[in-house]
């Protein structure tokens, strides 16, 4: 039996449901030595901003039990250099590009989305409304992440939506009381999918120097340690939404990915695990084919939301 891993992710055709998490795979070329990135369902880029960003001061990383904290601070080459220097490699590969974007205010997001579509720099847009290492949205509750405020999520999504006809994914934060509210807000704003989860906010202190381990003090927690939190949020969101969920957070193996599909994810992204095992994502692609075959399932759709109760 030959199984098909193909999916359509809110308008994007992917040969398999596996992509990589933004910021953990550079612009694709970084992993060219380990496997042909064209074998992925899609490549998701590091968050792009209109202008280049230098990011936070080092140290930017610290390891934690079964995971890590990062405070990169969205260092990236900026849209122009992306189009000029990073895009050509990806375009020479036959792989869809999910361009992850970050802006100051909804208009910058919209501008990024518009330009990316215009210049052929993306096949889908993932709007990062949930970066824990930069804080610039204001709400009545003080400074928060955009994705913590459902009204902002809806408004931002609408604005970006109106600027592009590309499939639009909205990436949300787990630092909320319930993921359902911002997820519904993204859907209402016109998102074609939501990406769950970004990192959990955390910090670590050196007991000897008494200084925070990160120059930025706080950072985002990722890796297998957060997987149970991510599976729960995917499960909650998938049951509430009509649009698909892209599941991520601590996926290391095929078995982990299957958990996310069973919880309701339509696609998955590998993040930090690529650091430990550069070809982890492609192992999951191959593992999923074996899993489907072994369980006599014809396609991924048969798994999605298939948790037995």
């Amino acid at each position: 039996m030959s199984v098909s891993l193909e999916i359509n992710l809110g308008g994007l055709h992917m040969k398999n449901p596996v992509t990589v998490a933004s910021g953990t795979f550079g612009y694709g070329q970084e992993y060219d030595a380990y496997f042909d990135v064209a074998q992925l369902g899609a490549v998701t880029t590091k968050s792009l901003t209109l202008k280049p960003r230098a990011g936070n001061k080092p140290p930017r990383l610290v390891e934690t039990p079964a995971g890590m904290l990062n405070a990169i601070g969205l260092q990236n080459v900026g849209l122009e250099a992306y189009l000029e220097h990073k895009l050509p490699f990806l375009r020479q590969k036959d792989v869809p590009i999910i361009a992850n974007i970050y802006g100051h205010g909804p208009d910058e997001y919209a501008e990024l989305a518009r330009l990316l579509e215009e210049k052929g720099g993306a096949d889908a847009i993932e709007a990062n409304l949930s970066c824990p290492n930069v804080h610039d949205a204001k709400s009545s509750r003080g400074t928060v992440l955009v994705a913590q405020d459902p009204e902002l999520v809806c408004a931002y999504t609408k604005t970006i939506r109106s600027a592009t006809s590309l499939p639009l994914y909205v990436k949300l934060t787990p630092n909320v009381a319930t993921i359902v509210e911002p997820a519904l807000a993204a859907q209402e704003g016109g998102a074609d999918a939501v990406s769950l989860i970004n990192t959990l906010i955390g910090m670590a202190i050196d007991p000897e120097t008494r200084r925070p381990r990160l120059a930025n003090i706080v950072g985002g927690l990722s890796g297998p340690c957060i997987r149970p939190v991510a599976v729960k949020m995917v499960w909650d969101a998938a049951r509430a939404l009509d649009i698909p969920v892209i599941g991520m957070g601590g996926i290391c193996s095929t078995e982990d990915a299957v958990q996310f599909f069973l919880a309701g994810a339509s696609a998955v992204a590998l993040g930090s695990m690529s650091f430990r095992q550069p070809d982890a994502a492609i192992r999951v692609v191959n593992g999923l084919a074996d899993y489907l075959e072994g369980h006599e399932l014809s396609g991924i759709a048969a798994l999605v939301g298939g948790m037995a109760q």
């Binding site: 280049p52 990011g55 140290p59 930017r60 390891e63 990062n70 050196d206 095992q277």
Partner: protein, 269 residues
């Protein structure tokens, strides 16, 4: 091209208290490795520790490489427990490695503590490429912690030892010894060790107009230039970037590039 390979450990030695050498069979990596490059070693089958640990390639043999390391925390402790026969997952070689300027008359390697790790391979390469073994300054806290002395000696290097407590060689810092060797415009200095030493050596050499390469450390996740976690600030922009990735743009840098003032000192020993 780097790769990720399960490599059998063929040798394991405790070379000094808390300091170990392991050699792995890894012909593919050995074939392409350059002095100054490093590898990311998987220290645990479980997910804690989750990340690999960066280790300089100490020596390059025909069918493998060796690593020399100091037990610092959990990861290196686990590494030290691995015995011969164990398959170590090695991701490498990574980074740029040392560029040897063969036009130079004289090559001086400066090792501070465990910073000696990448220098045996470099000494061998200098000898091969320049026809003469380099000078090596080995600086350590105390005699017991002098590493690789015999290896350098066997290569025919002129060895200059300093210890903090005077238990071997001269009671001096590496910089003091370096000054006495009077490097000039036709000398090339290669240094690896704690940040304060690197900063001092760099400053001295820049002031003296001597070419100086330093091998730096940083917390790393990917080792491939993808995560942007290991950056240091540079003085000038390279392709528009002020933030240099130690793993990809380094770990070996021209000392004149590093913005030592911005360089965060919290990890300094």
């Amino acid at each position: 091209m780097p790769s990720v390979v399960d490599c059998p450990i063929v040798l394991r030695q405790e070379v000094a208290e808390g300091h170990y050498r392991i050699s792995v069979q890894a012909p593919g990596i050995a074939r392409v490795a350059k002095p100054g490059q490093f590898a990311m070693l998987q220290v645990s089958g479980g997910y804690a520790p989750f990340l690999r640990r960066p280790m300089s390639i100490e020596r390059i043999f025909s069918d493998g490489v060796s690593f020399l390391f100091k037990v610092e925390g959990e990861g290196t402790r686990l590494l030290a427990e691995m015995d011969t026969g164990h398959n170590l997952s090695v991701h490498g070689p990574l980074g740029n490695g040392f560029t040897i300027d063969t036009v130079c008359d004289r090559h001086i390697l400066v090792a501070g503590g465990i910073g000696v790790a990448p220098l045996p391979a470099l000494a061998e390469r200098v000898k091969r490429d320049c026809g003469k073994a380099p000078d090596v300054i080995i600086a350590a806290r105390t005699e017991r912690l002098l590493l690789c002395e015999d290896d350098f000696r066997r290569m025919g290097c002129a060895i200059h030892i300093t210890t903090d407590d005077g238990s071997a060689g001269e009671k001096a810092l590496a910089t003091g010894m370096l000054e006495r060797l009077a490097p000039d415009a036709r000398t090339c200095v290669y240094a690896c060790g704690p940040n304060p030493m690197l900063r001092a050596v760099s400053q001295m050499m820049l002031d003296a107009g001597v070419m100086c390469l330093v091998s730096l450390e940083a917390q790393m996740a990917c080792g491939d230039g993808a995560c942007l976690g290991c950056v240091i600030e540079s003085k000038s922009e390279i392709e528009g970037e002020k933030m240099l990735r130690v793993c990809k743009d380094g770990p070996v840098f021209d000392a004149s590039l590093i913005d030592w003032a911005a360089h965060d000192l919290r990890d300094d020993q």
